[in-house]
Symmetry: C2
Subunit: 365 residues, 2 copies
Amino acid sequence: MRIAQIAPLYESCPPQFYGGTERVVSYLTEEFVRLGHEVTLFASGDSRTSAVLEPGCKNALRFDSRCKDPLVYHLIMLDRVRRRAGDFDILHFHTDYLHFPLLADCWDKTLTTLHGRLDLPDLPAIMREFSMMPLVSISHAQRVPMAWANWYGTVLHGLPRDLYRVGNGDSGYLAFLGRISPEKAPDCAIEIARRAGVPLQIAAKVDQVDQAYFESTIAPLLQDPLLEFIGEIGEASKGAFLGDAMALLFPIAWPEPFGLVLIEAMANGTPVIAFGHGSVPEIIEDGITGFIVDDVEAAVAAVPLAKRLDRKTIRRRFEERFTAERMARDYLALYQQVLARASGPLGLGAEAAGRMAQDVAHDTD
Amino acid sequence: MRIAQIAPLYESCPPQFYGGTERVVSYLTEEFVRLGHEVTLFASGDSRTSAVLEPGCKNALRFDSRCKDPLVYHLIMLDRVRRRAGDFDILHFHTDYLHFPLLADCWDKTLTTLHGRLDLPDLPAIMREFSMMPLVSISHAQRVPMAWANWYGTVLHGLPRDLYRVGNGDSGYLAFLGRISPEKAPDCAIEIARRAGVPLQIAAKVDQVDQAYFESTIAPLLQDPLLEFIGEIGEASKGAFLGDAMALLFPIAWPEPFGLVLIEAMANGTPVIAFGHGSVPEIIEDGITGFIVDDVEAAVAAVPLAKRLDRKTIRRRFEERFTAERMARDYLALYQQVLARASGPLGLGAEAAGRMAQDVAHDTD
């Protein structure tokens, strides 16, 4: 298939540091190339890909101090995608709703993965207005605030199979990995570690907006010698950080739409002790790949149990459920579904139907 | 002509308080109706107009506490405009660049007035990408940072002729009207008034972003009994406020693209003492409708001179140069220019040319 992947421009694909959406787009793009598809990636110019790169801007916008208005570059890129729509069988967007008005007339060759939380007050208005746009959720839980939207499926994220290998988890610490922010509840992770009497290593970035929270709530807790704050870590350090950990703590306080770190831990054979909000019950298998708990007390009790889980089994469940290949095949099935619907009785007439039938034939070669 | 005016949704048309763009769109819309055109106004649902109102949202977004993401409603509105493009002879946008990708394919029936400053670092990229879009500046000075853009003309703003009447300016105070912000230099107005020994009335809103500036720089100055801070005033109070004033102080510290208050003062027969940045030399006639000065000292010296300017002459110059009717006729000439260019050798082929020729014929009925 001729596939276009359209990423946000805030981070490169893959990102240098944090950046879940661009990371997933990168994994998916590389996997499609590996599976033999013709892939074009619309992303920031400093992205690295084996697909054809169509740069939407020179550098990732988050690190470009001259960029005051990211909307400019996103609109330019989306317009270019629209003008080239005929070159592709499917256009797969990861740009929230921004492309909806531009691509509404060729909805029948688009798929949009919504990567963020969906309980924002203005989203229903635009989802209703562009109700023809085929949508994908990244967990079933993510859909709850907009269960009525035009969902074609849920595709759980995946990682390249060989990105990580099973670690032995024998460094004697618990891990926290992500952002320092109230909804990720690092204070709760600290409490769990202290009550369990086990060291906690915190690898996390602190966004500008969370600086005050870090200083008022987290920094004062870091005096404890059990705790080590190591700041934001790059992709290269993540495997060792997670693989050496006894368990990952994920005591989130919000409905996490996915939580990439959960499957990163699994890929390293590391069990997860998580609160059961959002996507967690769809990702963690209680008693197999970790423990889903209700409160700090249960989390503390789970620490010694987690140590006893079989790391090879956790890795195997990763390989069965969360590889980039599985993710790519799930998406291919949804692309077919979009194209089939377009050529069916709801489609846009003979010409479109003919074109789509061709597309489907092409894809099943 | 069948004219669509497309306003931003932040304020109603006209705005209840401050809001230059929506105010001008409202004046222009009402004037086109008065001149016998078929006008549709795309604006917030609480707008008041004698044109056909197409609401882009229920209430002006700035006052809607449930609105976190104004982009949603702008995209929905612009998409509806695009779908209805065939219903109009001309689409006149006041929404910055946001409609460019959506309307690029029918540039030949659009005109875009840029209302803001143009020295922002990301603007050139989008202006270059959509270089077909016909643009209007609101002063020649506004164009300087992007002189190369696709300008069709400059249209200075105008006010309804009967909105204000000449006041007698005998209340013995100088006036400052606008926003409290460093670029409007209220501190400088205060200094001018104090050194001239004349009372100053300050009618101004303080935006959230300027609250710290107000508290640190302006509030401490307000102890002086010569100064009176009366906060934001509504449209109904503006005539008396300006008409009673000896002169308006406009000591701006930035390249103001237009400065609606300048012509509001003129409509009340009130002279303006202004620093010569941005649009000021295109609006104020030195020695006739006010004085253009270089510094505080010259401004102080101009106060007694301004008192002696003939208020009836100032009002006459307003009627000659700055009525909404003159503004509307200027825009009509530019609409013709767009349509003529569209049907000319640069136009989009026979069908478009035919349609446009019809449009022009219709307009000159």
